[in-house]
């Protein structure tokens, strides 16, 4: 396998500034953004320095004020045995200045926005922290808006993201392990967990799987997530993902592990329970009653969105006797003159809905209105009036679509299982619908996420196990952490004073 960026333990070739400079520029041949800044100290000795950095990646004010100026003006003493040490400790004003000879480190520093300081007469160089590239400010994430609760969302900078987590978990128990992914991208990542809560087996397992990744680039956590997940073909997510630091902190407090990847605002968390797809961070910031209703609705909506079309097709084409007579008659009336069989109508309209959804997501905001007019009028009304589809189909598809949009996190699984159920009930009626249900349930129940069943532990016998599943129990009742995620289960001690 060719390996572009590995320099192993290669070191700078000489103590001559000129030749070192040439060597480094050679490495970056063809990269015209690499800059050098040659400096000669105004002192008697006339020491020569050279700064190498990538244009646009560094904070230029910091460079000129804290590095260039001191290097020019500093009055070095007569007797200067170790010039590099002198510069490192007394001259440059950077947050960090690392002394090294390794080419690998030098290259990584330059591409990550640090500056390399070459000093004439020494094979050692200093890597100065001058990172100053432009990054997005901290904003509220578009995909996870809330009415109440923190508005902060992750951005693309690893360090900013780590800082947001650290500010929420102010304890040395918070462990942050840095990793690197991608042979070419060299993407930095950070594994975060609370040491006393995390399940060591899960942590070992995760680390093992992460170490096996050998890919040229990781631009988003989804790359990693798909590479390490259990049951990759099942289509159901077994790894959580969020853009909100408060969510990550809450999940870590339940014993989960988070992985932050530089360049991605999506932070992944493991292990993942299916119920997390129906949980929203807002659930915990609003009244428990309201949150519980919302959560039950979300679960109900998910089931409706996967099963409504197949129940309709089964009832209308296989078991019309289960429909009340007036409803059956009105469906029969609506179907008069429609040229396609019901199943084709339904599949067609479901696909049209997915088309609308997809184009809605891709199109610039100001064109949304056009889309809704086309969607509502052309598809809804005109298709019915032109007798291409019957009116009940529109109702079924619209209900399916709306309920499907409620649970964005398992959208893919939603659509796939909806069409599976539809296929089954269009050949076997309600019988097929039941088969599809059994198939889905057995798939869900045999899927694990890092050794934890995503449907939760089967032996959920105590009320305490249900406090944060179908409902969100009031905080004074949430005494324990969710089962199966951590061995350290006590979340709060029951104190009568608190209540």
């Amino acid at each position: 396998m060719e390996n572009h960026d590995a320099f192993g333990s290669a070191k700078l070739p000489s103590e001559q500034l000129e030749s070192n400079l040439k060597y480094v520029f050679n490495l970056f041949q063809g990269d015209d953004t690499l800059r050098k800044r040659e400096i000669t100290n105004t002192g008697k000795q006339g020491y020569k320095f050279c700064l190498i950095y990538a244009d646009g990646m560094v904070d230029s004010k910091l460079m000129s004020d804290n590095i260039v100026r001191p290097l020019m003006r500093y009055q070095f003493p007569e007797d200067c045995s170790d010039l590099v040490d002198m510069v490192q400790t007394s001259v440059v004003c950077a947050n960090s200045a690392e002394r090294t000879q390794e080419v690998e480190k030098i290259v990584q520093a330059i591409v990550y926005g640090d500056t390399v300081l070459l000093i004439d007469g020494s094979a050692d160089v200093l890597i100065l922290d001058t990172k100053g590239w432009a990054k997005r400010s901290v904003e509220e994430p578009e995909s996870e808006r809330v009415l109440r609760g923190p508005r902060e969302g992750f951005n693309e900078s690893l360090l900013v993201n780590i800082s947001m987590i650290r500010r929420r978990l102010r304890t040395p128990d918070l462990k942050l392990n840095m990793l690197t992914f991608g042979r070419r991208t060299r993407t930095k990542a950070c594994l975060c967990y609370l040491d006393s809560l995390v399940d060591k087996h899960v942590l070992e397992d995760l680390k093992k799987r992460l170490s096996k990744i050998d890919i040229d680039g990781t631009l988003d956590t989804q790359y990693i997530s798909e590479l390490i997940r259990d049951k990759p073909y099942a289509g159901i997510d077994t790894i959580g993902s969020t853009e909100r630091p408060d969510v990550v902190a809450a999940k870590m407090l339940e014993g989960r592990i988070a992985l932050i990847l530089d360049g991605s605002p999506q932070v992944m968390t493991v292990p993942f329970l299916l119920i997390e797809a129906f949980q929203s961070d807002e659930d915990y910031y609003l009244s428990y009653l309201f949150s519980s209703i919302g959560r039950i609705l979300r679960i109900f909506a998910f089931y409706v969105s996967i099963s409504l079309p197949s129940v309709y097709i089964a009832a209308v084409t296989y078991h019309p006797e289960i429909l009340p007579a007036p409803l059956l008659i009105s469906i029969a009336q609506a179907r008069q003159g429609v040229p396609f069989p019901t199943i084709l109508e339904l599949v067609m309209m479901l696909i049209v809905f997915e088309l609308l959804r997809e184009s809605g997501g891709r199109m610039p905001g100001n064109m949304g209105q056009t889309l809704s007019i086309v969607g509502a009028l052309v598809i809804g009304q005109a298709a019915v009036e032109a007798k291409i589809v019957s009116a009940p189909i529109i109702i079924i598809v619209a209900t399916t679509g709306i309920t499907g949009l409620m649970n964005q996190k398992i959208k893919g699984f939603d659509i796939a299982s909806r069409f599976l159920m539809l296929a089954m009930s269009s050949v076997l009626g309600l019988y097929g619908f039941l088969f599809a249900n059994i198939a889905l349930l057995s798939l869900l129940y045999q899927t694990d996420s890092f050794g934890v069943p995503i449907m939760g532990r089967m032996r959920m016998t105590k009320l305490q196990d249900y406090k944060d599943t179908y409902i969100r129990a009031p905080w004074w009742l949430m005494l324990k952490r969710p089962k199966g995620l951590t061995k350290n289960v006590t979340r709060q001690k029951r104190s009568d004073a608190a209540k």
Binding site: Y318, P320, I329, A332, L428, Y431
Partner: protein, 405 residues
């Protein structure tokens, strides 16, 4: 390879399961004619049965009102006739939403058991279909009355400026043009009001297959009205499964006191010709206790009625002047006369045990019933009946007496 074989095995197993279900009949709703009512008459031209089907005319229903059409077919058995009907319909007949079955008197006289066999055996018709006997010459003509009212409605609409379906105004539901649904809806309200008794297919089965009770079925007749062309009137009395006679409306109402009824108005009065006090029955209970002494059978019938004082259509204030006790006494007297009369009449005219006296004997003394069973219809005529009426008036509906300010 091994994996592929295993997958193939799973797919084959699943595919063969599919053939075991009997659920593979994918059928579009518009390709089925929804039967809402059936009428069975004696056949013509050598056939034994003539059947009339009322089916929903979905294609005609572009307006709000749903219309129906009528289909007729002959056959030597019920299933034969039903099968022949599909020849005239361009689609399959769908029986699961059939609401009513009407038998002509001639069919009822021949006996219902043979007719009901197909309804009980076939998987399509439901056990909740209402059963009726036609008081008209044939049963089929009642279903055809609906067609007349639809046309009348259309004409009325056209005259009224072409607004919608015309006749639909003021009627409930959008199925008002469908006569079978009209009858079924009317039955729901009439039977709770105690004017008639709703009998479903399984009720009929229970009576025919049970011991010691004869069947009654509500009767339908032409009302000669536009809006509700068919009315439920009177009761057909059966001897076993064969039609034996007819009870008119008043007799029907008295007979129905034997059933649990609710919200029914019961008129009482000091003399039978002048019944001007209306009682609304809240709860009623009839207990029949058979007594046998020296081979003589007598029945003790306790009729317990709890009612509210609903109306007194008199210039005086009878209730205030005489009190509840007096009204109850009058009511008891009227009730005793009514019940006595209906029992006597049925004993005399038909000899059919529609009150279920025989069933009570069977329940109390099955051994005795075995002996009585074969001759019960003769014995029933001579059964002595002792009636114990017990009317309680729960309230008078007025906080202040009538006429006071």
């Amino acid at each position: 390879m091994k994996r592929a074989v295993r997958w193939a095995a799973v797919v084959l197993a699943a595919a063969s399961l599919a053939t075991l279900t009997g659920c593979q009949n994918y059928q579009e709703v518009e390709n089925q004619d929804i039967v809402v009512g059936m009428a069975i008459d004696k056949g013509q031209q050598g056939y034994r049965y003539h059947m009339t089907f009322e089916i929903v005319d979905a294609a005609a229903g572009q307006s709000d009102q749903i219309k129906s059409k009528v289909l007729e077919a002959d056959g030597n058995t019920i299933s034969d006739a039903a099968d022949n009907a599909t020849k005239y319909a361009d689609k399959n007949l769908f029986y699961s939403d059939c609401k009513i079955v009407i038998f002509s008197k001639d069919i009822a006289k021949e006996g219902l058991t043979q007719v009901l066999d197909w309804f009980n055996r076939d998987s399509k018709p439901r056990f909740t279909m209402h059963m009726y006997v036609s008081s008209e010459k044939t049963a089929g003509e009642l279903l055809k009355l609906g067609q007349g009212s639809q046309q009348g409605g259309q004409q009325g609409g056209a005259q009224g400026g072409g607004q919608g379906g015309g006749q639909g105004d003021g009627q409930k539901g959008s199925q008002s043009g469908i006569i079978s649904m009209q009858i079924a809806d009317a039955m729901e309200s009439v039977s709770t009001g105690g004017k008639s008794k709703q009998l479903l297919l399984y009720d009929v089965n229970n009576i025919l297959l049970g011991e010691g009770q004869d069947l009654t079925l509500p009767c339908l007749q032409n009302s000669n009205q536009q809006i509700q062309p068919v009315e439920i009137k009177g009761t057909a009395v059966f001897n076993g499964d064969k039609y034996a006679g007819y009870l008119d409306d008043d007799a029907t109402q008295n007979f129905l006191l034997f059933n649990k009824i609710k919200d029914s108005i019961y008129l009482v009065g000091e003399n039978p010709s002048q019944r001007n006090i209306a009682l609304e029955i809240l709860r009623n209970e009839v207990t029949v206790n058979p007594e046998m002494k020296d081979g003589k059978i007598s029945m003790k019938v306790k009729v317990k009625i709890e009612c509210s004082f609903d109306e007194e259509n008199t210039p005086q204030n009878f209730l205030l002047e005489n009190g509840f006790k007096a009204v109850e006494e009058i009511a008891n007297k009227t009730l005793k006369e009514d019940i006595g009369e209906i029992i006597k009449r049925v004993q005399r005219d038909f000899g059919c045990d529609i009150f279920g006296f025989g069933r009570r004997i069977y329940q109390e003394n099955p051994k005795e019933w075995k002996k009585l069973k074969s001759t019960w219809h003769q014995k029933f005529r001579t059964v002595a009946v002792e009636i114990e009426p017990d009317v309680t008036i729960a309230n008078a509906g007025f906080a202040k007496p009538k006429g006071t300010k």
